[in-house]
């Protein structure tokens, strides 16, 4: 029996630990990998190893420090024009050489959209780009409609990653046209220029990266990285401490001691640049959910108490929609969201709102602690006389019948327009999906928003953003609960931690971004 057990243990070790490999157990796995369509927290884990943008950004710094990537240099020729020199000698994973044609095509695919699933991304990110012109064989110029203070940030976006034109168009139908079906097929067989090529992808299940030997930059440290979908938290933790995987994602605070107290393992965590929010039904479709009711409900929620109870105080409770990463545009002095039970009760009494019944929708697992927070807020709202019942379900009811729901607002890039704007600008997802119909009317709101969006003077821009947030406080389409603290469990000899300069959840295993004693990899 002992011999059998020993043999099995050896076989297990052989099956799980091979040279220069990394295995990751993830809580969420993508069903497709197409960087231009995707903006989910699930997909953002996987793109940087495979695809590249024109401009890179120092992920170790929370400040926006740009660096050459697929563009070797860039120059802002004026407020509406940028010139970029495209790197030569770059290869795609299928062996094709990247040319200026691919760069132009990648812009074309975002600006002149043929794939309807890209419409929303295009509107959110690239609506200010008027055209992209080829200057010579390696130079392009980008011209915007209005002065663009965020030019470099836009050129660093996941949605603007460079795609292989010929390969993509040849996937289905006419090889000279980028049909919708080409993008869908590409999402199942992605090809980029990054240090790792995807050699196996089983949607919603697993992904295998292998080192791309023709990579133009520093080679990938691992020969092979395998990502396995292990949705159950306890299964992920067991797989880690059993040596089946080297790194696991999404460990809630109460499970951290299980890993930290196991010899040979540790956790790394960080406040994630993402807000968990509660948003309300608005507009004529939701006459019951008035701005007064919404504001009273915001004031009734003790967010510090939620932080203490659910996150052991590790989350951050902000006063407005802002992140420290914004640098000059970080505006913690603005107070949009606060807790004031007396004021909440007063609003309820003055507007005769007591006894209002609402349905709160939340996904069972998508948001860490989402259901627990909903249950806690249910009690807080009961205290001001608002009776909220919970609907815990995978699907979210459409806008016309939705009254209250959980959502998240990630930071897509380090600027108010890259987080608040991505969701709540007139072109943002929250408005295009009908979550918020501004009561001042969309035209008025657009004027208010654009005064901030295109302002180049720091003080004036911050003042304009404060005015936008005043409108958010008045109309109260949503409020922020907190900025969650997310953790990863791993082998103790791995030198990896979430990066302050990345968008949330990015699993970056490029050279210099991970150290691994066992595999002899220095960070």
């Amino acid at each position: 029996m002992k011999r059998l057990l020993t043999t099995t243990a050896i076989l297990l070790a052989a099956a799980t630990a091979q040279a220069n490999e990394l295995t990751v157990g993830v809580a969420n796995m993508s069903s497709y990998l197409e960087p231009g369509t995707d903006h989910s927290n699930v997909g953002s884990q996987y793109y940087v190893n495979t695809f590249e943008t024109l401009l890179g950004k120092d992920a170790f710094s929370s400040k926006a420090k740009f660096e050459p990537m697929l563009a070797t240099s860039w120059e802002l020729l004026g407020p509406r024009r940028a010139r970029l020199t495209i790197r030569e000698g770059v290869k795609f994973h299928n062996g094709d050489e990247m040319t200026i044609e691919d760069v132009l095509f990648s812009f074309q695919a975002m600006m002149n959209v043929t794939h309807p699933a890209r419409v929303e991304r295009s509107r959110e990110m690239f609506s200010n780009i008027a055209r992209v012109e080829q200057v010579d064989a390696t130079t392009i110029e980008i011209i915007t409609k209005r002065p663009e203070p965020l030019m470099e940030l836009l050129l660093n976006q996941q949605n603007g990653m460079i795609l292989p034109k010929k390969y993509l168009m040849g996937l289905t139908g006419d090889p000279n046209v980028d049909e919708t079906s080409d993008y869908i097929a590409f999402g199942l067989a992605p090809v980029g220029t990054g240090p790792y090529k995807i050699t196996e992808f089983t949607p919603s299940e697993s992904l295998v990266w292998e080192r791309f030997d023709d990579y133009w930059g520093e080679p990938a440290p691992y020969e092979r990285v395998t990502v396995r979908f292990i949705p159950e938290l306890s299964a992920r933790v067991t797989a880690l401490v059993n040596g089946e995987v080297d790194l696991v994602t999404n460990i809630p605070p109460d499970q951290l001691p299980v890993i930290d107290n196991t010899p040979g393992f540790k956790t790394e965590g960080a406040v994630t640049p993402l807000f968990h929010v509660v948003f309300f039904g608005t507009g004529e479709r939701n006459p019951k959910v008035t701005p007064e009711l919404r504001k009273a409900m915001m004031l009734a929620v003790d967010r510090d108490l939620l932080n203490e109870a659910l996150w052991e105080g590790k989350a951050v409770v902000p006063s407005t929609h802002t992140y420290p990463q914004f640098g000059d545009f970080y505006t913690p002095d603005i107070i949009t969201f606060r807790h004031d039970l007396d004021e909440a009760k007063k609003i309820v009494a003055e507007n005769n709102l007591e006894g209002t019944e609402l349905l709160f929708h939340t996904h069972p697992v998508y948001y860490t602690n989402g259901v627990l927070a909903a249950q806690a807020m249910q009690e807080m709202w009961a205290e001001i006389g608002i009776n909220v019942s919970l609907n815990v379900a995978i699907e979210r009811p459409n806008a016309s019948i939705r009254e209250v729901a959980n959502w998240s607002n990630p930071m897509y890039f380090a600027d108010p327009h890259g987080s608040f704007g991505k969701m709540w600008a007139p072109t943002g997802a929250g408005i295009s999906r009908g979550f918020w119909e501004p009561s001042i009317g969309i035209e008025e709101y657009t004027k208010l928003y654009d005064a901030f969006r295109y302002e180049t003077d720091v003080d004036k821009r911050n003042a304009a953003f404060a005015r936008v947030m005043e409108e958010v406080e008045r109309d109260a389409p949503f409020f922020i609960k907190y900025q969650p603290y997310e953790s990863w469990g791993m082998r103790a000899d791995l030198d990896w931690a979430p990066f302050p300069g990345h968008i949330p959840y990015v699993l970056d295993f490029r050279a210099g971004y991970i150290g691994d004693e066992k595999n002899g990899i220095n960070k």
């Binding site: 069903s31 979908f229 089946e244 996904h363 997802a429």
Partner: protein
Amino acid sequence: MNFIIMRVVRAVLTMVLVVTAVFFASRISGNPIDIMFPEGLSPEEYAFWENYFGLDKSYFQQYLAYFRGLIQGNFGLSLTEFRPVTEIYAERLPNTIYLFGSAFLLALAVGLPLGIYAAVNRDKPITTAIMAVAFFGYAIPNYILAIFMILIFSFWLHLMPSSGNMTWVHFVMPTVTLAMAMMAWNIRFTRSAMLEILNEDFVRTARAKGLREVVVINKHALRNAMIPIVSNLGLQVAGFVGWVVLVEAVFALEGIGALIVRGALLRDFAVLQFGIIVWAAVVIAANLIVDFIYTLLDPRVRIVK
């Protein structure tokens, strides 16, 4: 010949009825796009995906289109993976076959002899022990057993992988877990079938003739007891999805049991429908095989022509 044609026609009709029922029942539950994109979609994008998957048409039009596809061998596209469902099942079916096949054989190889032994030696202490194990295996839900096994052999002893299906070692714990309940079922069923036969007059006669006990048990008793035992085994095979679904889920083993459940949960209609077709085909095949084995076991059972 007529018999075979009749069986095939009946099988096809059964499948059509089952698929029809699943087709409409799943659609009544709602629109899959609400689940596919939990963060929501703009109206344009929502309309695009509805159109792409043909969900903007009436149920009846969708139904006709689905059957047109079936005739052409097109079983549809997965709504969550954007690729043909046959491709997804082709990837996962081998895992379920390995898992269920090995558990079935293990349960048979252990359960049948133990059941016979328990029937023949019903008063011995070892029989009490066998029946206690059978009771345990029968009573404990397999997902609880699975969690205990993971806790002991993976979390504490680090001897077995807790999840996945990369090597044969990954199949050891799922197979034992799955085999436990089937084995318990086999022991209890074989024992009771054998006990019934062992009390029959012809067994007493065989013993009175002076036949050796091994001949009495194997030739006279077991052969007669095999008819209900084979029926029971046929039921086990027909119900394979019910057996594997939780085990696949706990061990994160990528088989079709978990896939069918996911298809139902996420309203991935084509995945669910194809899963039901596969399941119905297994049920029909199991019944045919059981019928065939009956004719081998008992010469009185013959196909009526």
